[in-house]
């Protein structure tokens, strides 16, 4: 748990105040709930304000894709892309219920057309394309529509020269689309390379849970990979592993904090710091504005182009003593005066 604390970079004081204030006992309104982890009560309104993180213990609740867009983006909002795409039923699949019925139910209960929402938005003033999965729509599973929207998001970001932000929350490939769902793993991995060609970064956020074919495709290929505290990140879920290998798994198996130890993610980031953190890394990776004719290429090339003047300027500003030392002919470490 201390690891989570260490990874929070800003406004820890504010968080502490919030946690303190919200820990006070209060009346429970009709739309309130109880945290499964610490049993503290909260109101729906307060939960939304706190980005669906328990104010008392920091437990991260599920967030819908649209709410997360609002959490990550500027108050100006976001422009949703391809909301019209809907799943087909290529296998005419029925398990305990026909697939068509499952889709209809999911759309009705979530108000979403599919398990992913793509949009243009700004994160801390950096324009980006975001592809955010929604676990409440059929467990965030990836079928043809999720694959297609993610691939389009890659193309769109590459074409605009903007970074792609992916938030994964998925049980894996959508069983009901069979082999064609499996193919979406290939489709999305291939599509990600459009961003490599356009030389723009991909930030992946792993929310609870990110498993199966989603973890084994685009979700494990981010340039920068953050995980939310407590998120389960695994190819095979704990139940499958225990049944297959008879291993007894530790309670923190595959959890974000453990996966940080395993070297599978770059940081565990508290959701209340997520937008800040993504904005910060995108600012660091941002290319300088291109100038003049033929101003193309990578930041590395730009260093070479503007390098001479910049280096001269930098040297000018060095203290005299250092200048003398690096001047050719002057004996190292000795003051010529």
């Amino acid at each position: 748990m201390s690891r989570v604390g260490r990874n929070i970079h800003v406004s820890v004081d504010r968080l502490r105040q919030l946690a303190h204030r919200d820990a006070r006992p209060r009346k429970i309104s009709a739309d309130a709930g109880t945290c499964p982890k610490c049993d503290s009560h909260y109101s729906a309104d307060e939960m939304q304000r706190n980005l669906r993180v328990c104010p008392a213990c920091g437990h991260h609740f599920a967030v819908t894709a649209r709410e997360r867009m609002e959490q990550l983006g500027e108050p100006g909002g976001y422009v949703e892309l391809w909301p019209e795409l809907r799943a087909a039923d290529p296998l005419q699949f029925t398990d305990l219920k026909p697939y068509t019925e499952r889709i209809a139910d999911a759309e009705k209960s979530t108000g979403l057309g599919e398990a992913i929402v793509c949009a243009e938005l700004e994160v801390r003033h950096v324009p980006a394309v975001a592809a955010i999965m929604d676990f409440s729509y059929m467990g965030g599973s990836m079928g043809a529509v999720v694959g297609e929207k993610l691939a389009r998001a890659c193309d769109h970001a590459a074409q605009k020269g903007q970074p792609l932000i992916v938030v994964a929350a998925s049980g894996g490939a959508r069983m009901q689309e069979g082999t064609l769902a499996l193919m979406q793993m290939a489709k999305t991995v291939i599509a990600l390379d459009a961003l490599a060609e356009a030389r723009v970064p991909v930030v992946v956020v792993l929310a609870h849970p990110t498993t199966g074919g989603v973890w084994a495709s685009f979700a494990s290929l981010g340039d920068i990979t953050y995980a939310e505290p407590g998120a389960l990140i695994a190819f095979s879920g704990p139940r499958v592993i225990e049944e297959t290998t008879r291993e007894v798994l530790p309670s923190d198996f595959g959890r974000a904090e453990r996966q940080l130890e395993n070297g599978q993610v770059d940081a565990v980031v508290d959701r209340r710091e997520l937008a800040e953190r993504i904005g910060r890394v995108l600012h660091i990776l941002r290319r300088p504005e291109l100038e003049g004719p033929g101003a193309m290429g990578s930041p590395a090339l730009q260093w070479a182009q503007g390098g001479a003047q910049r280096a001269a300027g930098a040297v000018q500003s060095l203290p005299r003593k250092v200048m003398d030392r690096i001047r050719p002919g002057s004996p190292d470490g000795e003051d010529p005066e």
Partner: protein, 306 residues
């Protein structure tokens, strides 16, 4: 090791099949069972028959050597070809040694090591897929099973050399797809290719481990269906009664298909090949027709005979 496969098994199974011809019918469940028939030729059975010489490599240079994954370079029609594939075992010891054909991250990293060498040396890559899935184990997860598979997919897609994937038995889940992103994907007549094994699906979707048969009916993971969906480009016929009845003939037929595919692909410029590879996977997965109707997969009809 494949040398000891051949004759004895074939004769034994041939007798079995003669006694019970109804075991080999169009039924999906029979198909699923044939795909993982204990006497079915495995990856090394094909490689050793198709190549005049084969140098297997070992280890991922990072952690260990995964015995569920075989990778190396073979002499195929007097040319070098990289062969990579999951390897199952026949008897109990061998099955354990091969981990039932379930590779861990080291397996996919060994595969990638061979792909990289092949790409650098301009050698085509052929993968033979036969796995119930990637290994589900805590240690595999700790060492990045997900990332190993996604990177294997990525590397296969990025290769400049001609690539060919063949599902020779059981092609289940991301563990199969990790070797499946190629210019051409072939499937043996009695093999299966699916998002999950019928047993896995049964437990998850029916919440009942005994519904595997029903799951297979729902997933329809046969070669003919995969061809119809555009997931595979050709169906490779097997000897009468199935590949397990005649390893020699099964390898001969596959040899001809691989030879033909590599010849075709070799004639394409690398840039064109990669563009086609991208398009091939990009168009998989039908979306609902906005005019209504749930839509079948955009189809190709039934596979051509032979």
């Amino acid at each position: 090791m494949s040398e000891r496969g051949g004759g004895r098994f074939v004769r034994k199974v041939a007798e079995k099949v003669r006694r019970a011809p109804e075991a080999v019918d169009d039924d999906l469940w029979a198909s699923v069972q044939l795909a993982r028939h204990a006497e079915r030729p495995y990856t090394l059975d094909y490689i050793t028959r198709m190549c005049s010489d084969f140098e297997e490599v070992h280890g991922d240079r990072l952690f260990g050597d995964d015995h569920a994954m075989v990778a190396g370079f073979g002499r195929f029609h007097d040319r070098p070809v990289a062969f990579i594939g999951q390897q199952k075992g026949r008897d109990t010891n061998e099955r354990t040694f091969r981990n039932f054909g379930m590779a861990g991250p080291e397996g996919y990293r060994k595969a990638m090591r061979v792909m990289e060498i092949a790409n650098r040396l301009g050698i085509p890559v052929v993968t033979l897929i036969d796995t119930p899935g990637a290994f589900p184990g805590a240690s595999a997860e700790e060492r990045g099973q997900g990332g190993a598979i996604s990177r294997s997919i990525q590397m296969m897609w990025r290769l400049d050399v001609p690539t060919l994937a063949v599902i020779i038995g059981e092609g289940s889940s991301g563990g199969a797809l990790g070797l499946g992103v190629a210019d051409r994907v072939l499937m043996l007549e009695n093999s299966t290719y699916s998002v999950i094994s019928p047993e896995g699906a049964s437990a998850i979707l029916w919440r009942d481990a005994s519904k595997a048969r029903q799951a297979a009916q729902a997933f329809k993971p046969t070669a003919a269906n995969c061809y119809r969906w555009g997931v595979v480009d050709a169906v490779v016929p097997e000897p009468d009664g199935g590949a397990h009845t005649d390893h020699e003939q099964a390898a001969e037929i596959l040899d001809q298909y691989i030879y033909r595919a590599l010849t075709d692909l070799g004639a394409m410029p690398p840039v064109e090949r990669r563009r086609a590879r991208r398009e091939r996977f990009r168009k998989l997965g039908p979306l609902r027709d906005p005019e209504g109707g749930m839509g079948m997969a955009t189809g190709r009809g039934t596979p051509p005979p032979g």
